[in-house]
Amino acid sequence: MDIAANAILKKKTNFLESIRRNIVVRRFMSNRLAVTGCALLTIIFLMAIFAPLLATQPPLEMKVTDRLKAPSAAYWFGTDEFGRDVYSRVVHGSRISISVGLSVVVISSVLGLVLGLYSAYYRHLDNLIMRVVDGLMAFPAVLLAIAIMAALGPKVENVIISISVVYIPTVARTVRSAALVVREQTYIEAIQALGGKPWRIIWRHIAPNCMSPLIVQATFIFAYAVIIEASLSFLGAGTPPPQPSWGNILSDGRTLIRQAWWIMVFPGIAIVMTVLGLNLIGDGLRDLLDPHTNKAKS
């Protein structure tokens, strides 16, 4: 009898959960700007996944006879000073931006989540962790990333490490402030009274309730990571040439701006499309998941 009642209850909960999820998805899809963001980002993701199929030339192939050719049917985005096809380099460059952005989001979200949750739950840790977080947040993101790159050397893995270090404190702050609110709820007190273990309370009961602000934050971090990777590579402290990244193609374009505008225009458009897409999705998610902004908007 008990088993049957439990099964019915579970079915009912699953049904309600699926309705709730449907409403959330429908509300997100009714936001035209967020859907535009998803479309932009899908284009960039497809470009990164199918780069070898979409590129018309190998991105490193030099054709000295075709140096600095303007955009044409043969070279859609023109060629650079070594006769390399800018279109193929931009397409392959998306792989660096997307992989750096995703890696930074995963690393900074996981580590920031751990720091934020433990900081909120154990008050004696809070002071220490938050002072370190405050100290790290005092460094301008690009400068901190440049300094770490200068110490570690220019490599894509190091770009990921340096940008992740920059954003771990931001995530920790966001998660901590959400977790502090959850921690004071009566149900957490009830679980504590029932003898629930701290790690179980933190990970099973507090963490899931901190996911909404974390997801919104992660979208914006993805966008910032794309800009910082491009900035580092533009300055010569990021992805090392000849491997194409949007930032280092822009750097080539800067020196040839008078002769070949196309080298700097197209990778820039790709960066703007990616960052704009992510910001639109982030804004859409925030409107959906944060009741505070909903109130302000109404």
Partner: protein, 315 residues
């Protein structure tokens, strides 16, 4: 108020301590021997030993930190081996252009963003609101250095209105100074302005929902009086916060913008130091900008108290 200022300053000390530790540790992340990295593969053993001695690399790490911190507290940020001068002198020589650039960018950003944010909030839901907020969204999505490159292409290469790159100090005349600085400042200020405009709109909308605004409307006050006299003043704290917090974005953007426009500021100094592996300069410049950021946010914290008495009166 004095108690409030004292409390804020005490709160800063641990943050500055962390800044100093992080700044010191970063350079020690270098794999292998920093002296060998700095001098390259052609260096002799004698050169390496001399540089290690000069940088104190053969001392225990805590002694190195103690010596470095003692120096920093006495205004000695180290010695640049490539520029052959004290790091503090190098920073001082490069400070002027960065200060001019960031102040001008911030002024442009605030002057444009606050009226746009107010106009968007006051006309919520209309085409004007949508237009301004779309522009703001574009503003936060376009990297400042790419805007800078496009400005060079359009206004310098095609139209010839402004010089493509370079810097003239204020002593060469205000017009000349601005002629070189306006393109970099606008390109740097756009992202900052977009962030401020978005925050102005959202915090103003929140205040406009308050009961006292309804009371002001019921009293028959003019709409612009309600917005500027009653709402904007109360919406100002989040706006000030975003101005302070995004100052780091501004400095970060300045590093890249200075490279685009070949401006001999702190950003250019750091980028050149990174390419030469001149660690003392990187360390000194980053310490200085982080400290500047902390101090600017202190000033903003104190401004809160001036604008809103509840801040200084609450415990």
């Amino acid at each position: 108020m004095v108690k409030y200022i004292f409390k804020r300053i005490c709160y800063l000390l641990p943050v500055l301590a962390v800044v100093a530790i992080v700044d010191f540790v970063i350079i020690h992340l270098t794999p292998g021997d920093p002296a060998a990295v700095m001098l390259g593969s052609d260096a002799t053993d004698a050169d390496l030993a001399k540089l290690r001695e000069q940088l104190g690399l053969n001392l225990p790490i805590y002694v190195q930190f103690g010596r470095w911190l003692w120096g920093v507290l006495h205004g000695n940020l180290g010695w640049s081996i490539f520029m052959d001068m004290p790091v503090s002198t190098a920073i001082w020589q490069h400070l002027g252009p960065t200060v001019s650039l960031t102040i001008l960018a911030e002024v442009i950003a605030i002057a444009v963003a606050i009226p746009l944010g107010v106009a968007a909030a006051a006309n919520r839901g209309t085409w004007l609101d949508q237009l301004f907020m779309t522009l703001a969204l574009l503003g936060i999505s376009i990297p400042s250095f790419w805007i800078g490159l496009n400005f060079i292409l359009l206004f310098a290469v095609k139209l010839g209105w402004f010089p493509a790159a370079g810097y003239q100090p204020l002593s060469s005349g205000l017009v000349n100074h601005l002629k070189y600085l306006i393109m970099p400042a606008v390109s740097l200020g756009i992202m900052q302005g977009a962030l401020i405009a978005r925050m102005t709109r959202s915090s103003l909308l929140e205040v406009l929902n308050e009961n006292y605004i309804r009371t002001a409307e019921a009293k028959g006050l003019k709409y612009w009086v309600i917005i500027f006299k009653h709402a904007l003043r109360n919406a100002f704290i989040p706006i000030l916060t975003v101005i302070g917090l995004t100052f780091a974005v501004l400095i970060g953007g300045a590093v890249v913008t200075e490279t685009v426009f070949n401006i001999p500021g702190i950003g250019k100094l750091v980028v050149t130091a990174v390419l030469r592996r001149d660690y003392a300069v990187i360390q000194g410049a980053i310490l200085m900008t982080a400290t500047a950021y902390v101090l600017i946010n202190l000033v903003i914290d104190l401004l809160y108290a001036l604008i809103d008495p509840r801040v200084r009166l609450s415990k």
